[in-house]
């Protein structure tokens, strides 16, 4: 029972986080040249763009036993947060090229080379959360677990609710904590991961 309350609260927090970019927009000054409804076709290099398309408010699914924490809200048919799903959507060609070389270096076990390329990419687009996430994963494979967790958290922070990058980051955090012997922390990360997966696939809402 208790864990359902927790889970419900989590889902709610994530859902709110998902909407957060939309609420941030009405300040009007950023991004300067576009209205929220306009779909963005070409990203400005070095700028982390908000999700494209209609700002669909994400409503959390109702979870049994979590009524106290969540005001009743309708359950949408399918959750479709309009967040960029991959680095391609928010990165310029230079950063994508560096990401590719980082990925092949990482695949070859050359972690210093991989982080070197990622750091170059971050100098160009310092707030590109997909690059930070790839860096976190590189630290994980390098068995630098503390940095893997910290960098993944930073990526989450810059992602401003992007569930796709959060999903990857919580996986990294889970693996890093579990490999570093922090079972409780790993379980917490797993719970976050489950919550995101539920959010992305509302059909598997627990009964």
């Amino acid at each position: 029972m208790n864990q359902w309350i927790k889970l419900g609260a989590l889902v709610f927090a994530l859902a709110l986080a998902g909407c957060q970019t939309a609420t941030g927009r009405h300040e009007g000054t950023w991004p300067p040249q576009q209205t929220p409804q306009q779909p963005v076709t070409k990203p400005v290099y070095g700028t982390v763009l908000p999700p494209v398309g209609e700002p669909t408010p994400v409503m959390p699914p109702t979870v049994p036993g979590a009524e106290s924490a969540i005001p009743p809200m309708p359950l949408p048919e399918k959750v479709s947060p309009n967040f960029p799903k991959t680095a391609d959507a928010i990165s310029g060609p230079a950063v994508l090229s560096l990401l590719r070389s980082a990925q092949s270096a990482r695949a070859a076990g050359q972690y210093a080379q991989a982080s070197g390329s990622l750091e170059r990419a971050l100098r160009i687009e310092p707030r590109n959360y997909f690059v930070w996430s790839t860096l976190a994963d590189t630290y994980l494979r390098e068995k630098n677990f503390d940095q893997a967790v910290s960098v993944a958290q930073k990526s989450n922070s810059l992602g401003r609710g992007n569930v796709y990058v959060e999903q990857e980051n919580w996986r990294i955090i889970r693996d890093a904590r579990s490999a570093g012997g922090n079972a409780a922390g790993a379980a917490e990360a797993q719970a976050r991961l489950d919550a995101i997966q539920q959010l992305l696939q509302p059909t598997v809402t627990p009964q």
Partner: protein
């Protein structure tokens, strides 16, 4: 009698033979010892090689905001030569909408960047395309060779950049032979012809006018001997020259000579070898020198101080032209080249270009390496150190400080040169130190104020007081009303502390964010005493303050000392939303052969909670729009969202400004070395410099999107309560999620109570 004479003769002969044998044995022993000395010196590392320090390389890619003029400036800084048709590495041509660049090859720690022939398309906003000029294929990103910014050489030491004979222009060794030692390739180390010629010339003149040293002898002299002049030494020199020739090839001797020869003096640094000579005088690699430049260096061998081209340009030019004539006589250059070469000016790089240009920054690099490397590793092993220095940011910081101080002195009718200053620019995410200035004489390696001048930080401490309070959302938010009343605090030592506002006025109760924006002291002390100085100190330490000040009430107003670089660390933690990256000036260190030794990867650790940092930053944005920082927008576009804080200490002894945009943190300090008051506050002394630096480095606007644990609510500024559209002057204020005021302000329409979710949606679509 006859027999006796014969006996005597025999004895004499025997004695002579014995003596001669003894002399030969003695001489053999002498030669053997010289031989050993020579071989020992030539076999291993022949020189102690100072570490070479490089700036961050410029990366060219589509989307980079670099216009034609800036690109040209960047290339010239690297010693690239502009010419109508770029030909060979280190040349370029640039027009308004296109640049053709022949880049140099460079071996980076993570691989070789080969030389390439690029076509870069330019628009006013920056680079739109980078293509391979020959194939037309587009390139995603190209790294230029990094600028050599200094070397770490021992005190009173020799500095050099090693070259290989195979890599130098052939005009150099051939020209040296023509000028210094015509029979180099045929003699055995000494030249009898040369000695005779010199003796004759000296006899004719009645005194020594011509030396007879071969290149081999010159090398021996430089390598093994003291500068004393005596027959004994001359004898040793000749022996060693012969031995050297016996052991080593002409090419080996020539290569050693190219690297050994003394070409000038730069303060207490001796410039040795043609590799460094090219950098020192022309700010380019040796391979790119043209005939008149090679001739100048060759001419310098005869007397680097007598022919010093910076001090004695006419004498140097005459010598250079003479050398060019010899080049022409020897067929090294044709008549046409000779004619145009003698017409060319000396073409020296400014002394401040290239090597040893950024003493304060190199000082920081040395300190960062201190724990990890011995001094001798840095001065002897030829390490290559790749730093984070961004020449453009450094230039902006230097220019604004060197221009800003005289302007302030003039404006305030102060004695010229009475003010001092220091500044730091860092990146936000990753903590790279991009620029550092330690005093107004930016080329002078003196007192490094950016690192060593620990001064009282004044109101720069205030954001940490507010951040401490905002971490208790149940008690404080940005709208919490603070009293602006006189306070009197009895300190542990029974002293009574009665701080006042900077303008000595009381302004009535203030919302928390406004007290920070206007830098009011009394509300800050009131708030700080509620959360406790010890808690505030903890926040400062979490941000990166490393001192051990006692947690006394006066720290709330910044009576604690910190160096500018430490302030930069504290503000960088705020700028990075609480994710601290320790400041670093180095990216990689590698051996002279190019093997990676150490890397300084990005390190991140969350030391402060994101939501409260966001709220504090929001208040620091108000500093810029309606508080003490607002004059920044006289030089920066108002659409650029910035956060900052001014700092002024007692009687205006220190003027500070610290702040950041999305990608850069800058800290500026202005004051006097003798700690006397100077009559400048943070906003009048440091802010003008800070603003222009931020403008020059194209700081990016802050992202106003709040993090997940922050919500925004329309707020009535008069009451701090929840507002709606009918409230005039209502503003969006961020709160820690769940802690926004629920009570509605009197100005709001009294509608039926609305569900919070609907209200939230309404706010979103407004």
């Amino acid at each position: 009698m006859k027999a006796f004479l014969i006996k005597i003769r025999l004895i004499v002969v025997a004695a002579l033979v014995l003596l001669l044998s003894a002399a030969i044995i003695g001489f053999a022993i002498y030669l053997t010892s010289l031989d050993k000395e020579i071989r020992a010196r030539f076999a291993g590392a022949r020189w102690a090689l100072p570490a070479q320090v490089y700036a961050a390389p410029l990366e060219l890619y589509p989307g980079l905001g670099l216009d034609a003029a800036t690109l040209k400036h960047e290339l010239e800084r690297l010693g690239y030569r502009e010419q109508p048709e770029p030909q060979g590495p280190g040349t370029f041509a640039v027009t308004k909408d296109q640049a053709l660049i022949y880049t140099r090859a460079f071996k980076f720690w993570d691989g070789l960047q080969p030389e390439s022939h690029l076509q870069v398309r330019l628009a006013p906003a920056g680079i739109t395309e980078v293509n391979d000029a020959d194939s037309g294929k587009s390139r995603d990103i190209v790294r230029l060779d990094p600028m050599l910014i200094g070397s770490i050489y021992p005190q009173q030491g020799e500095d050099r950049v090693l070259v290989k004979l195979t890599d130098v222009p052939q005009m150099l060794p051939r020209g040296l032979v023509a000028v210094e030692d015509r029979s180099f390739y045929s003699h055995y180390g000494v030249s009898l012809k040369g000695i005779m010629r010199a003796t004759f010339a000296n006899l004719m003149a009645g005194h020594a006018v011509e030396g007879a040293s071969t290149i081999t002898q010159q090398l021996v002299k430089n390598f093994f001997l003291t500068p004393e002049r005596s027959l004994k030494r001359k004898f040793k020199e000749i022996c060693m020259a012969l031995l050297l020739e016996a052991h080593y090839s002409k090419d080996e001797i020539m290569e050693a000579y190219l690297n050994e020869v003394h070409l000038g003096q730069d303060g207490n640094r001796a410039v040795h070898g043609f590799g460094l000579g090219a950098q020192f005088y022309f700010n380019k690699p040796l391979s790119e020198l043209r005939s008149h430049e090679i001739a100048l260096l060759v001419g310098l061998v005869k007397g680097p101080s007598y022919y010093n081209p910076r001090r004695n340009p006419d004498r140097a030019k005459a010598r250079r032209d003479l050398v060019l004539q010899i080049f022409n006589d020897e067929g090294l250059i044709d008549d046409a080249e000779y004619k145009s070469a003698v017409e060319r000016p000396l073409g020296l790089a400014g002394q401040s270009d290239g090597v040893a240009r950024y003493p304060a920054f190199v000082d920081l690099v040395k300190r960062q390496l201190k724990g990890q490397y011995q001094d001798s590793d840095l001065t002897n092993e030829g390490l290559r150190i790749f730093t984070t220095l961004e020449p453009r940011a450094q230039e902006a910081l230097e220019n604004q400080i060197t221009e800003g101080l005289p302007a302030l002195e003039k404006q305030r009718k102060m004695k010229p040169n009475s003010l001092q200053s220091a500044g730091v620019v860092t990146s936000v995410d990753g903590g790279e130190v991009l620029a550092l200035v330690g005093g107004r004489e930016t080329r002078y390696p003196g007192f490094n104020r950016a690192l060593d001048s620990r001064r009282s930080i004044g109101s720069l401490a205030k954001p940490f007081v507010y951040l401490t309070a905002l971490q208790q959302p149940q008690q404080f938010n940005l709208q919490t009303i603070l009293p602006d009343d006189p306070v009197s605090i009895t300190l542990p030592n029974k002293d009574v502390w009665e701080p006042r506002n900077y303008d000595r006025q009381n302004h009535g109760p203030q919302p928390l964010y406004m007290a920070l924006a206007q830098s009011y002291n009394l509300p800050t002390v009131a708030l700080g005493m509620r959360v406790g100085p010890a808690e505030v100190r903890k926040t400062m330490q979490a941000a990166g303050y490393s001192g051990n000040v006692l947690p006394v009430p006066s720290i709330l107003l910044g009576s604690l000392d910190a160096a500018p670089v430490e302030v930069a660390q504290m503000y960088a933690t705020l700028a990075a939303s609480g994710y601290q990256s320790p400041l670093s000036a180095i990216r990689e260190v590698e051996t002279k052969e190019g093997q990676p030794l150490s890397r300084f990867p990005i390190k991140v650790k969350q030391t402060l909670p994101e939501g409260p940092v966001y709220l504090t930053t929001w208040a620091m944005r108000q500093v810029m729009t309606l508080g003490t920082g607002r004059s920044a927008y006289n030089v920066i576009s108002p659409s650029t969202i910035l956060a900052g804080k001014s700092g002024t200490t007692d009687e205006m002894r220190d003027a500070w400004f610290a702040g950041f945009g999305a990608d850069r943190v800058a800290v500026i300090w202005v004051g006097r070395d003798d700690f006397r008051p100077m009559g400048l506050a943070g906003a009048s002394g440091a802010l003008p410099i800070w603003s222009k630096v931020m403008r020059d480095i194209n700081v990016r606007s802050l992202d106003p999107t709040p993090p997940a644990d922050v919500e925004e609510q329309l707020t009535d500024p008069a009451t701090g309560l929840k507002a709606d559209e009918s409230c005039t002057g209502a503003i969006q204020v961020p709160y820690i999620r769940g802690y926004a005021p629920t009570e509605t302000a009197p100005c709001a329409k009294l509608l039926a109570p609305v569900d919070s979710a609907v209200d939230w949606l309404k706010g979103m679509f407004k």
